[in-house]
Amino acid sequence: MSAQTNRLNTGGRIDRSRVVNFTFDGKSYTGFAGDTLASALLANGVRLVGRSFKYHRPRGIVTAGAEEPNALIQLGTGARTEPNTRATQIELYDGLISESQNRWPSLTFDIGAFNGIIHRFIPAGFYYKTFMWPAKAWLFYEKFIRRAAGLGKGSTEVDPDRYDKLYHTCDVLVIGAGPAGLAAALAAGRTGARVMLADEQSELGGSLLSESTATVNSQPASNWVNDALRELAALHEVKLLPRTTAFAYYDHNSMSLVERLTDHVGPTPNQPRQRLWRIRAKKIILATGSIERPLVYLDNDRPGCMLVSAVRAYVNRYGVMPGRRIVLMTNNDTAYRTALDLANAGVTVPAIVDLRAEVTGPLAKAVREKGIEILAGHAITKVHGEQGVKDVEVARLSADGKSVTGSTRHISCDCVATSGGWQPTVHLHSQTRSKVKWNEAIDAFVPGDTIPGQNFVSIGGAHGVFDLAACLTEGYAPKRHRKSSRCVRSGSSRPRSRSVRAASISLTIRTTSPPATSCWRIAKAIARSNI
């Protein structure tokens, strides 16, 4: 049993008094209650967790949430085994058994990596260009292709678990319990309306759960979250649904959600494992936040390559350092707060590589004061270390950002975190067949007009508002259901701002500058420089 070498001594929302035992690829580890499988693996210094679909490239943990692309795990055994489960969404329970997928004979030595060696001969869609001769041989070729495909293994036994379903109606359904969603639920709940608030996470609070410095009313944001939750729990007509993912938005404001009842405690006979909610609401508020975008450089999929927000979450929420020497690359200010959090936790940040030509302001100053080098007008061009980041190559960008100049510099590190700005989570909006539109200022798609016949609105990060004060303000604009089902057609999907009830709340403005707009051109420049 190995110790949690990358666990920070203090901090995080985990319960250090409850040790949890689990296994990964047959090896035993410990974590704490409140960990996800991802945070626990990182705490134990495990970076390599899987292999890519086709080329079997070594892959690690990239994010701290539902958007995780690489840490796909075979969870459990026998009749309850589940393939392709994201380590970032698996709540750790005692006795959890997990395995990596798509590798043989082992994760570190995988014969499938041969595909990676010959990748040039098997590019995307190569199978359309060959396997045509002899004509009758397709079924033969197919046998091998099929065996190589798929990621995890489906169970071959009868599912022993039971599932529940429930219909419900309400006045206001809020999806997402971050600052905007909590504010909206509060505002609606206080009017006496029947409100349901759903969030996919085990704890409500959204982005504020990973915050270290944000304040509301000059108090730490977590105080505001706790107060809000206490008040919501006491409101009779308000129902809180944690661990509940809204997965389908249907006609006439009906939504399907899945609530995970026992997945976080492991196999539990005689209790429904999950519950399907079919909710029809007079008004739906999408407060689904946004997803950070990674930046592009050669071999940016190595274990140890992560998102800046993920690093921040692991440090602040889970008390884990994803690495001991973490290089950050960014085109906006988000990385600077993370650098300060890392420095305060005792983690070395050799440099912040900033695509922007000039970096000034109080955050930059604070970072420099911690002894962290800021390489403005630079980019990471390549990462070294096949089974885990060892070092990065950094180069200066030309003035127009279209090419890389000068010689490269090597910086040794074991983790690279990038931030390319934020993309609002528009999935549910798009499911209604409402369109999205490009917002030049934040370099992202935001919800466009809502389709007639659906009564919903996107607030906060979900429509490109990233400032905490603004998110809270949007949430608080009163949210009673509207009589007419004809929706707002003109302009954006912002709520009509009647007098904001936030008058009694003086909000601290957190400085967040919008992301720079040049990340795509930079990516091209880097790609070109490496061919």
């Binding site: 249907y250 006609d251 006439h252 009906s254 079919r278 029809r280 389709i451 007639p452 016949g453 089902s485």
Partner: protein, 104 residues
């Protein structure tokens, strides 16, 4: 999943209802049937407007009052513009809401 406002029972989920296809198709009288051509009969039996836009259709509340009624619904947005009783005339909706290209 639609919510349909049954004129007799109130708003109910779509799966309580049966779909009755296009409304306002008058069945030819016995007399007319005697003198119709095959083409006219086929017209009545099979030809439909199938609009990409507002569709005037029939629904029956199978798992409720079991009565038939009419609905004006947009076939792209699924917005229900009007529910009206069987026997009532086709409602006058704003021209911009109606489909073009539907000779009848």
């Amino acid at each position: 999943m639609f919510v349909i406002n049954c004129p007799y029972c109130g708003p109910r989920d779509e799966h309580e209802f049966g779909y009755g296809h296009e409304a306002h198709i008058a069945r030819p009288t016995l007399e007319q049937q005697g003198t119709m051509t095959d083409a006219e009969w086929a017209n009545y039996l099979f030809l439909r407007t199938n609009p990409k836009g507002v569709h005037f259709e029939r629904w029956v509340h199978t798992k409720g009052c079991r009565r038939w009624f009419n609905v004006a619904r947009h076939t792209v947005t699924h917005e229900i513009l009007k529910v009206y009783k069987m026997g009532e005339p086709k409602p006058d909706l704003a021209p911009s809401a109606l489909a073009e290209n539907n000779p009848r």
